[in-house]
Symmetry: D3
Subunit: 238 residues, 6 copies
């Protein structure tokens, strides 16, 4: 299957990949790509307010978030790995950097999806984005120590943050996720602790769908928005 | 042939389309697309210094520039139309706007290529870009009077200006023009009055080719750079 | 009533003020302010696609759009005036400029609401915004001929465009319109020709409401987003 | 008194809060708010040139700067705490982050004032700004360990840097400090080592006062300029 | 004298050149350069509020402003020409464009000074800046009809607007005007109708002087700030 | 010789100073300035792909890169020091910061050249730029411990990155390196492992030369592009 390509999604917290890139994941796994999600943390401190209010312990919360994310990944057709480095704040260490480099070396991704480089509402998100941008470069270097060969030049996209207008988020790509939206919806529903976001992100997908239609003249119901870090390269206007 | 699509290039002066989009034109005409170039002017006042220095009259210069541009278009496989509205400065009139709207209505372009929206070295270029952006919108409106039906939502790209760093030019797409570069070179050589630019734009194409290679991991020798005005829309990361 | 203040909304087309500022209008008219809407055009060519498709004539369309806008203004508690200068494109003439200056002189607005200064999907919108920014300045000048006295320094806000991320729209103010949302909804429903936008802008109001809550810790259901052109001035952090 | 609200000012060095936010502090303390100043350092290395030139020791300089800042805070009506983490450079450690989080948790600020996010003349300032932006988020998280409850969504403002045009400082708010300017002047005069700045920042306050008048039509003599990090939220245009 | 070079200042209104570039003018005229000021208007409507309040007629105001500007130019050592095209608003016509082109052709300036390209407080200023940027290009074109030869590539600078932070004014050059400040002060004092600005712009010059000192380590008392439109070119870092 | 001034170049990897600032170095050393190059690393991991492919060891690679850089520095007339802190990634430690501060204190540079603050293709480059910007400030502080006196306010420039359009590189200065280009070419040819860059950077120098000519009207063949961090200060428009 990996012949077809590999999509990697680097998610600061356990649920980010679902709200922000669930459609992309379902789309590519459905096409036979390997899709691999790296969760740096479970979002245990920063994005589990209702569990804390319900009196859960840190361990319970991590277990709950892990189980939810695993179910969501399964629905979307993705592998998932939890690095469990601790959130709020994520500390970027040499060990964490090396883990990402070795992941990229081993899985040779064609496409990388992660957070935006600015987010005044969340410091873990831009830190993750910078970490990915840097480790992608390290993984390209012949001199970086590894048992696996250097990677090529995988594309890197930022997925849509919660408040895009405050994050200098520029939409470069509206990805049509209409064929897989039901999968994304089911994956979102795994996130029991964040039920208020199910409808919210369904509305986001609809609005991006309307915009995708207006920007293409095609009939599109649901879409996800992405910002490119590097130029597209190819033989056609796309 | 138009079944395959229509690419329109709107060029402020007679030669702009060659230096900036000659590869794209050759590529698409070679694929059986209709490619249509609109030259708002011959560049008779602003971009024909050597002919003025040689003592030519305005009419001679316009004829010369027209002939060169026609030969270049022929080499590239494009139709060409000259609006002859006078350059340095181009005055945007209601009549000029309407001409563009009717062109878009009649030819139903899928892709539009034109100048950047900022250029401190040339006031005709950004004015043309704004004209295209606006007339594309007018051509979409059902209420705009025309014998032809409204257009859809053609993509709009800015091609690379002469001094990109001073024009806030962001490269969104590196278009691989390796297979057609010889055609572009021959088309450039039609511009007798601007021989100093042949080598210059060959170098630009090489440098963009190197960057295309670095950004994709592919082997690319020559490329052209483009900036997108609207988001891409589709079912894949491109 | 004018003692309490005057809010003026300058709308390029007949319906813009409803989708984009209907909540603000209802809020301020409900507080006893004079709210005055200037529609430069009926949106007859550019924003009445369904009426054109239904075979209506230009005059019928203008009449229909006028009636809808008048009903919407009435529901929102605003005066409305149509300048009927023709849309797609709006041509900015000295006469149009003077009309706006005299409006500002006569009504002495405290707050002005209009479009954004960039909108790649609509050329009438930024042109209207620039017109308002300039005529506000002219109306301040003692030497500008008028029977009415110069205005002070009314605040100027851009309301939210259809695709904010493509318009460099920065949210400076989230206006809580929860108490008047039903009025805005009823006003939107006057726009028979644009029924697809009722739900769309209800969703926008909800999403802005969620963001208003997150940015303030208050319970807010519906909000409208605005961008400031000039700094706030006052004796408190607001 | 805290019923009325709490304003916290986070100052990289001992004197920053006086030059940049002294008016705001006097204004709010005069209204019965609790105003609390956190000085990360005494500015002992980086902003005490005249004391070093006079041959003072590090300890003497720290004592002098502390005494000046304490007097200034007293004049302005503020509490003050010195974290003494060492300046030039300030090193951001987990312990420093936690200290700020616990401060926010304990004092539950309604408004936060700090430095800008860019300052090519001072690396401690943007580092402090990022520290405040991040710790404000951490303090909001239910899962962050603390004996005090999470904070809401306090507004965050950057005060004016020394060379605003080089710091991308955008003025969002001109705060009228006319009623308290004499207090600010007296507080500035506590800074014996920086006498050249007394007149300088009196001039800045006057210029901002003139601008406040021009932007509002009100009579304002002295003002301070602030940039907002998050949107305003409320029921009125402000 | 013209052997030494020619500095041209294009001023939207009669007094702009004094407040914003008076130091530069005195400096260069003192060095034997030809300095030529073009005032597009007298600022009769937009910048003569006190004369209007005093009941003067349009003709009286224009005469007064002309006399003041002539005296100021004389003090600064500059030629001055009034185009009297009418302010608030300045209308850019083909005739006005041609006048500027012929001025540039005839006087062959080495340096051009004018307004900024953004100013939300004054629409005449950015319009003048765009006019100068465009006519400079036209004057370079061999094909533009004129009895005088094309110009080279004179540098173009924006001088400091009244509220620089709102005009995206970036300071690229701090010009030391200490040796000529008294001349600038005397020239400012010619502007009887704007006495409130004498002290204001003396303060601006002092503040820029302080910044010039900080940015260079030199002893500078008064300076003017400028923004470059084109790159510097030369054999040294400057 | 140091009387004439001191130019310091801070290079993340061993070869950066050659491609990006070789002309400036040759120009200033030829004028009798002290030119001092600090290489933070040998570029051993990140910029020595061909040596890794040839099976060299880390130590061999470092030795090779050192020898090449030493030869290049000699050709250009510069001193060179290698800090050998390890590349890909460079870790910024307090010790590294102090080393730079002491270098600046000891050599009292008048001009500093380094990388850009953004580079999505290389994380070491912006980190080095931030390091230089900060340590320059530290070296200015009287309270920073050192045996050498504080520095003044040396200018700081970014040299041109490999893909300037992706790095927000704005050209503020085109430095004419025509008289020393042969030296730069020879220095480039010392970099045996990067032969593909010799022609590439010769082309860059030519293109910048063409632009330098267009922006000045002078005859310039080769140039290097630089972006300024602080305003120029002086008595002339430059």
């Amino acid at each position: 299957m990996a012949d077809k390509g590999c999509l990697m999604v680097i998610s600061a917290h356990a649920a980010d990949f679902v709200w922000r890139a669930g459609g992309a994941i379902a789309l590519y796994s459905g096409r036979g790509w390997k899709v691999r999600v790296l969760c740096l943390t479970f979002g245990e401190r920063g994005e589990s307010a209702s569990l804390w209010k319900a009196g859960k312990s840190l361990d319970e919360i991590k277990r709950t978030r892990r189980e939810e994310a695993e179910r969501a990944a399964e629905i979307l057709g993705a592998e998932i790995r939890f690095l469990d480095v601790g959130d709020y704040p994520i500390e970027v260490t040499p060990a964490l950097r090396d883990t990402l480099v070795q992941e990229f070396r081993q899985h040779q991704p064609d496409i990388l999806l992660t957070h935006t480089f600015l987010d005044p509402y969340n410091a873990d998100h831009p830190r993750t984005a910078e970490l990915v941008r840097e480790t992608r470069i390290l993984a390209q270097a012949h001199g970086y120590p590894s048992e696996d060969p250097p990677i090529g030049a995988p594309q890197l996209y930022s997925f849509e943050p919660h408040q895009p207008e405050q994050c200098q988020f520029r939409i470069d790509l509206l990805l049509d996720i209409t064929p897989v939206f039901e999968q994304k919806r089911k994956a979102m529903e795994c996130m029991q602790a964040q039920e208020h976001l199910w409808a919210y992100y369904t509305d986001v997908a609809k609005r991006r769908g309307v915009q995708a239609g207006r920007n293409s003249g095609q009939k599109i119901v649901y879409a996800e928005a992405y910002q490119r870090v590097f130029p597209s390269v190819g033989g056609a206007f796309v």
